[in-house]
């Protein structure tokens, strides 16, 4: 049991703590809870959790600040919880190093999916990154720069490939507009969301069966994009 992944939940609302603890314990995780930012930072340092679930609306500290302070010394995946309509805070936290987010109220499948992705990325940071990403009939070979749908190879432009490769390498995770723009186009173009809109549209037309109802590249409204793989 001691090998079970350890999750630290920092949230000031007892009902949310209770729900998350019950569900995650049932799924075989070890769960520690903190209801304040300072307490959370201390527990993160002493317990070395595998994942931190952090609410952005804490009574004593700004959640983004907690994120920043955690990132000063740990690469432990951080999943932030927040209410709807606080896209700016979410984006700020994601740009400060949070890995993913969940909007309250959230379904349990979503929570578990985020936790799984976070665990996978925390192990892949330790070196075992897969070079081939499969998503439905799509196959993306990051080593050989090949994208196939079924047996048919899809021709992508240089920028399209860079974009897809970055999304696929981070499959399952949300990537903010700014993050993608900085990685694919460079820091100077970090504000040109329109580049992203146009290229995403082209990419979806080439990859998705129905570009209006994408299965692989999902839009996270107001935040960014997420690539969904089979894993």
């Amino acid at each position: 049991m001691s090998n079970a992944p350890h999750i630290l939940v920092i949230d000031d609302e007892p009902q949310i703590q209770r729900a998350i603890r019950t569900i995650l314990t049932e799924k075989g995780f070890r769960v520690t809870t903190a209801s304040r930012g300072e307490e959370g930072l201390t527990l993160a340092a002493t317990n070395e959790p595998d994942i931190i679930i952090l609410d952005l609306g804490l009574p004593d500290m700004d959640g983004v600040e907690v994120c920043t302070r955690l990132r000063e010394w740990t690469q432990c995946p951080i999943i932030i919880l927040s209410v709807r309509d606080s896209e700016r805070d979410k984006v700020a936290a994601l740009d400060k190093g949070a890995d993913d987010y969940l909007t309250k109220p959230f379904g349990i499948e979503e929570l578990l999916a985020r936790v799984r992705v976070a665990l996978r990325h925390s192990t892949s940071r330790q070196g075992t990154q897969s070079k081939v990403i499969n998503a439905g009939s799509l196959m993306i070979d990051l080593a050989w720069h090949i994208v196939k749908r079924g047996d048919e190879e899809i021709k992508l432009t240089g920028t399209e490939y860079k974009l897809l490769a970055y999304l696929a390498a981070n499959h399952g995770r949300v990537l903010t507009h700014q993050n993608i723009l900085t990685q694919v186009w460079g820091p100077a173009d970090a504000d040109h969301t329109e580049y992203l809109r146009v290229y995403m549209r082209q990419l979806r037309k080439k990859l998705e069966a129905d570009p209006e109802r994408p299965q692989y590249i999902l839009t996270e409204p107001g935040i960014g994009y997420r690539f969904i793989s089979d894993e």
Partner: protein, 489 residues
Amino acid sequence: MNSTNMRSSTFISHFWNYIISFGLIAFVTAMFFVLRDALDTTLIALLYLIPLGLITALWGLGPGITSALVTFLAFNYFFISPFYTFTVHRPTDVVILVVFLIVAIVISQLVGRTQASFAAATSREREATQLYELSTALAGLHNDHVISEILAKQVQDVSQGEAVELDITGMQPFVFRLPDVTPPTRSPELTVLIQTVRDVLGEIRLWRAAPAISLEEKRLLETFASQGALALERARLAQAESRARVLEESDHLKSILLSSVSHELRTPLSTIKAASSSLRANEISWDSPARAELIAAIDDEADHLNMLVGNLLDMSRIESGALKPKREWNILPEIVGSVLARMRHSVEEHKLEIDVPESLPFVPVDYVQMEQVFTNLVSNSLKYAPSNTVIRIRANIEGETIHVQVSNQGPHVPPEHLERIFDKFYRITAADRVTGTGLGLSICKGIIEAHGGRIWAENVSDGFAFNFTLPLTWEGAPPPHFPMDTETE
């Protein structure tokens, strides 16, 4: 004019009064001397009273008494035997001197009293005029700053001081200065409280080293202060009243909101409560299909609740002006596509016709908010339009704006309702058929207007349509174009 100058000028004018008095007596004495054979001594004494009375009346007690003495000496010297000496032989002659003196004193007193009462009347009249002017200027004013400005100007006009400062206390304290510079560092020569019966509302400070502030001036300025206090109090009462009225109105709106909201919130809550309690009580067997149905109901109703709460939050944000679009250059077909993908289960019973061309330029909008506009307009159309009818979304460029229409084949709306359907809590049909907080359309209106656009509803030949426009420019900049790379790897 400084004080030394002023004092010397009064001294000179007094000096001249004496010279003229003595001249007059000399002139009269000369006339009597010429006529002395025709005039009896007693008559001469009597006639001397005329210049004496004049002098006293014109220049007051000092010249009067001096003149009385001089007159007596002249009378004695020229007209009483032995002539050309100041010797007095008869006691009656002393009586004449005493009479001269009494006449001078009595007349000067009478004249002095008249002059004083005249001066008092004039100054009272001036004060009354100034007070009248002040109260007229202050009448009907509801702004503390304007009141202070007028009061300070009036104080300055009347006192001709070096500086006037009004220190107004209260919820928004401030200091008004005339002239608008830092006043002298010394403490003010006069400080008057602006106070009502209940409260001190501030203070008037006046700097005027000279001439020293007289009691009358102090009294007048105190009257000004109390006029100012009345005006300030009136202004504060009026402000309090209008605040109270606004509060009352918003209170009324809030109670409508609360009743509407509690009704709307209770419906999904009832479903959730019924479903979860029956699951908990083990009344439904594990393999019954009803079980899955109840669980789905809980899930759906929780989503519904979440949507209601979201609508309320949006509305309060629109009301408080906190809804600021986070604009970016967006692709309209992408927004429409994503909304319809999310709503695909709800739109199954209707036919969708989408005419939002790929060739449209970028639109400078908040992605999330525009998604919400389309979601609300489409779900409103779904509520009112019968199944299997067409819901159409169309967008085209009109000059520097983009025009979007969401139309359905639902019933016409009476023309008098067309404007009001965007009002909060407004419903055209009976609430039993249609659910929702009545906020969806007013949220659309709030969002479109925050984007600088316009939204309206109209009846069309085969149904009903929502229209809105959005500007295509963003801070004056037209939609961007950029070259796409087309070569493949």
